[in-house]
C-alpha cells in the first residue's frame, strides 16, 4: 500500500489509499478491505451477489416447483419474464434514489424491502403466486445501479472502469452460483428428512437470510462517499441537497444515456436471457441430463468472475492511451464480436463446439457489460444515478423484449432464436457510433476545437446560473478536473492547471 497523498486540509481524515481532489481512490487493490473505498467495494458486490442469488434461485429448482405448484410451460415462461421486468423501472427509481439519498440507504432499503418476497416464496401454492414472488424478488436486481453509483463515487477516473467491472461482475456471479447452491441446499434438506415439496420451500430461506444480513452489513459498515454519508454532508453544507426534478431532467435529456440504455439491453439483456434459457437449450438439443445441463448453465454465469472485470479493466487501459474514444471503440468492437459469436452459437450442431462457442460468447458479452460501465460514469455528474439507472433499466428491457420476441411459445426453435438474437445484437450496437463528447470526441470525430468544449463546460452545463451562484456545481467542477485523463495521451500538450499534476500519479 502506498503513502497517503491527501490535500493539505487538516479537517479531512487521511485515507489508506491514494486519492484525488474528490477523495476518490486512484488505485484499486482488489483484496484490500481498507475503509472507506475498498470496504464499500466489498459490501456492494456481496449485497448485489445476494440479490442475484435470490432472483435466480427458482430456475434450478423448477423441476420440483413445477410439480408442487402444477405449473405449465407457459406459467414458467411468464414467471421468467416477470423476474426481469420488475427491475426495469426499479433501476431508474434506484438511480434517482442514489442521487438524492445516497447508495448506502437506497440499496439497503431496497434489499430489506424485497427480502419478504424471498421469504414468502416458501408460502406460495399457485402459478399466480409464483409469478408474483419472482416479480417482486426481481426488483432487488436494481441494486446493480447502487453498486455502480457507489463505485463511481468512491473510485477515480483511471480505475472507475475496473471498480465498476469487478463489482458488477462479481455480483452477476450470483446468477451462476445459485444454479449450484440451490440444488445443493435442497438435497441437504431432503437428506435431513424433509419431503421434496417441503425441502425446496425451506431452501429459499437461505438466499433470503443472506440478503437480509448483507443489507445490515451495508448499513452498519458502509458510507456513501469517502467524506461520509449524504445526510451528514447535506447538513454540514459540504454537499448541497439536490432536487429530484432537476436530477431527473438532466438524466433523461442526455441522449447518450438513451443510446447506452439500448446497447446495454443487447449485452446485459442478452446475458439475462441466456441465463434463463441456456440449461433448457442444452438439455433439449443434446439430450443431456438436467444435472449436466445445469452445470453448463452455471458456467455461463460464473464466467462473470473474470469477464466483466476484464471489460472494465480494458476500458481503463484503453482510456489511458486513447481516452474516451478508446473506451467507445473497444465497447463497439467487443459487443459486435459477442453478437457474431451468438449467431455462431445458434448454428453449431455438436455439443463440444457449442460449449466452446458459448464460453467465448459469455466472455465477450460480459466484457461488453463491463466496458459499458466504463463509459457511464462520464455521461453525467449531477445525474449519475439516473443515467446508471436508465442504462441498467435498458438492460432489463432488452431481456424482456428478447425473451418475448424469440423465446416465448414455439414460433422459433431455440437455436433459431439464439441466431436471431445475435443479429439483433449487431444492429443494436451500432448506435454507439453516435455518442459524442465535445471535449473528447466520439468514434468517428475528434474533440471539438471550440472555446467552450472543455470538461468544465460539459459538466457545469447541468447547473443553471442560480445554482452556480450558490456554488452547487463545485462537485462537478472537481470531477471535470479529474476526468481530464479521458483525453488520452494528449493530456501533456493541453493546458492544465498546476494543481492537477500533484494529484495524478
Amino acid at each position: 500500500m502506498s503513502m497517503e497523498i491527501s490535500e493539505p486540509e487538516p479537517q479531512h481524515p487521511k485515507f489508506a489509499l491514494p486519492v484525488d481532489s474528490e477523495h476518490k481512490a486512484t488505485e484499486f487493490p482488489l483484496f484490500s478491505v481498507a475503509a472507506p473505498h475498498m470496504r464499500a467495494f466489498h459490501l456492494s458486490w456481496i449485497s448485489f451477489f445476494a440479490c442475484f442469488v435470490s432472483s435466480f434461485a427458482a430456475p434450478p429448482l423448477i423441476p420440483v416447483i413445477r410439480d408442487n405448484l402444477n405449473l405449465t410451460a407457459t406459467d414458467i415462461g411468464n414467471a421468467g419474464i416477470a423476474s426481469v421486468s420488475g427491475a426495469v423501472f426499479a433501476r431508474i427509481a434506484m438511480g434517482s434514489a442514489c442521487d438524492l439519498f445516497g447508495p448506502r440507504l437506497a440499496s439497503a432499503s431496497l434489499i430489506l424491502l424485497t427480502a419478504p418476497a424471498v421469504y414468502f416464496t416458501s408460502y406460495i401454492s399457485s402459478p399466480i403466486s409464483f409469478l408474483l414472488v419472482r416479480f417482486f424478488t426481481g426488483f432487488s436486481l436494481s441494486t446493480f445501479v447502487s453498486t455502480q453509483f457507489w463505485m463511481s463515487s468512491m473510485f477515480s477516473a483511471p480505475v472507475v472502469g475496473a471498480a465498476n467491472g469487478f463489482a458488477g461482475g462479481w455480483g452477476n456471479l450470483g446468477g451462476g452460483a445459485t444454479q449450484l447452491i440451490m440444488p445443493l441446499v435442497f438435497s441437504l434438506i431432503r437428506d435431513m428428512g424433509a419431503v421434496k415439496f417441503t425441502a425446496w420451500r425451506i431452501a429459499f430461506f437461505i438466499p433470503a437470510l443472506f440478503q437480509t444480513l448483507s443489507a445490515f452489513a451495508v448499513l452498519l459498515f458502509g458510507q456513501d462517499t469517502p467524506d461520509g454519508n449524504f445526510k451528514r454532508l447535506n447538513k454540514s453544507g459540504d454537499r448541497p441537497k439536490d432536487k429530484f426534478s432537476q436530477v431527473f431532467y438532466h438524466g433523461v435529456t442526455n441522449y447518450r444515456a438513451w443510446i447506452l440504455a439500448l446497447t446495454y439491453g443487447y449485452c446485459f439483456g442478452v446475458e439475462l436471457t441466456v441465463d434463463n434459457i441456456i440449461a433448457e437449450y442444452f438439455y433439449d438439443r443434446f439430450n443431456l441430463k438436467l444435472h449436466t445441463a445445469g452445470i453448463i448453465a452455471a458456467s455461463f454465469g460464473l464466467a462473470n468472475l473474470i469477464s466483466r472485470p476484464a471489460g472494465g479493466f480494458i476500458s481503463d487501459a484503453m482510456a489511458k492511451r486513447f481516452g474516451m474514444r478508446g473506451r467507445l471503440w473497444t465497447l463497439w468492437v467487443v459487443q459486435t464480436l459477442g453478437g457474431v459469436l451468438c449467431i455462431i452459437l445458434g448454428r453449431v450442431g455438436s455439443l463440444n463446439a457449442s460449449i466452446i462457442v458459448m464460453i467465448a460468447f459469455s466472455l465477450f458479452v460480459q466484457a461488453a457489460c463491463g466496458l459499458t460501465f466504463g463509459v457511464v460514469p462520464f455521461i453525467s455528474r449531477r445525474s449519475l444515478g439516473v443515467v446508471s439507472g436508465m442504462t441498467g433499466g435498458g438492460g432489463n428491457v432488452g431481456a424482456v423484449l428478447t425473451q418475448l420476441i424469440f423465446f416465448k411459445g414455439s414460433r422459433y426453435s431455440k437455436e433459431t432464436g439464439i441466431t436471431l438474437m445475435g443479429i439483433m445484437m449487431l444492429c443494436c450496437t451500432l448506435p454507439i457510433c453516435l455518442i459524442y463528447f465535445p471535449q473528447w470526441g466520439g468514434m468517428f470525430c475528434g474533440p471539438s476545437s471550440k472555446e467552450n468544449a472543455t470538461e468544465e463546460d460539459y459538466y457545469s452545463s447541468e447547473w443553471n446560473s442560480k445554482e452556480k451562484e450558490k456554488g452547487f456545481h463545485h462537485g462537478s467542477l472537481k470531477f471535470a478536473d479529474n476526468s481530464r485523463g479521458e483525453r488520452g495521451r494528449r493530456v501533456g500538450s493541453a493546458a492544465t492547471p498546476d494543481r492537477t499534476s500533484s494529484m495524478h500519479v
Partner: protein, 201 residues
Amino acid sequence: MATRAFLLTSLLLSCLLQICSGAYFSSLQRTLIVTASPKAGEVLKSGEDKITVTWGLNQSYPAGTDSAYKTVKVKLCYAPISQVDRAWRKTVDHLTKDKTCQHKIVSQPYKASNNSVEWTIEKDVPTATYFIRAYAYDAEDQEVAYGQTTDAHKTTNLFGIEAITGRHASLDIAAVCFSAFSVVSLCGFFWVEKRKSRVAK
C-alpha cells in the same frame, strides 16, 4: 487422426445402439390385464390414500406368449390432460425417451396370475390425472409387453391425485416473522440515524 476417427465411430455406434436398443411402445403387445382400485374420476390424496393394483396375463392369448417375461414394473402414468403444455411429461414412442410414466409403484418377478400390491401414494407425486400401466420386461431388461387400466386413447377410467402442498404452519410463521423483522429493522435503522443527527445538531 486414426484415434479421432476411432473415437468418433465408437461414439456414433454407441448412440445408434442406444437408439436401436430401446423398445418402441407401438411394438409392444397389450397382453397384461391391469386393474386398480380407484374408480373413474375419483380423487385421491397423496401420502394418505392407498391404491390396490392387480395384474395378470390375459388368458385369451396363446400359451407361451409370456415365456420371455421375467419382471414386471407397475407405474403411475400421466393422462393426456396433464401433459398439455408440459414438455417434461411428453409421450414419445421410443421408450427410453418416453416420460409418460414417471412414478414407479412396484417391481416384481413375473407371475401369470395372482399379482396384487397395495401402495400408499408417495408424498412427492404431483397433482394430476393418472392411469396405471404395467410393463413386462425380458431378461435383458427390455420392455416386451404391457397392460394398462385405461383404453388405447387414454380417455377412460382416469383418476386424480391431489398432492401435498408441502407447506407447514411453522414455515409460514417463520416467513412472516423474518419478513417483519427485515422491515422493522430497516425502520429502526432510519430512526437511529435520525436520532443521531438530531443529537449531533
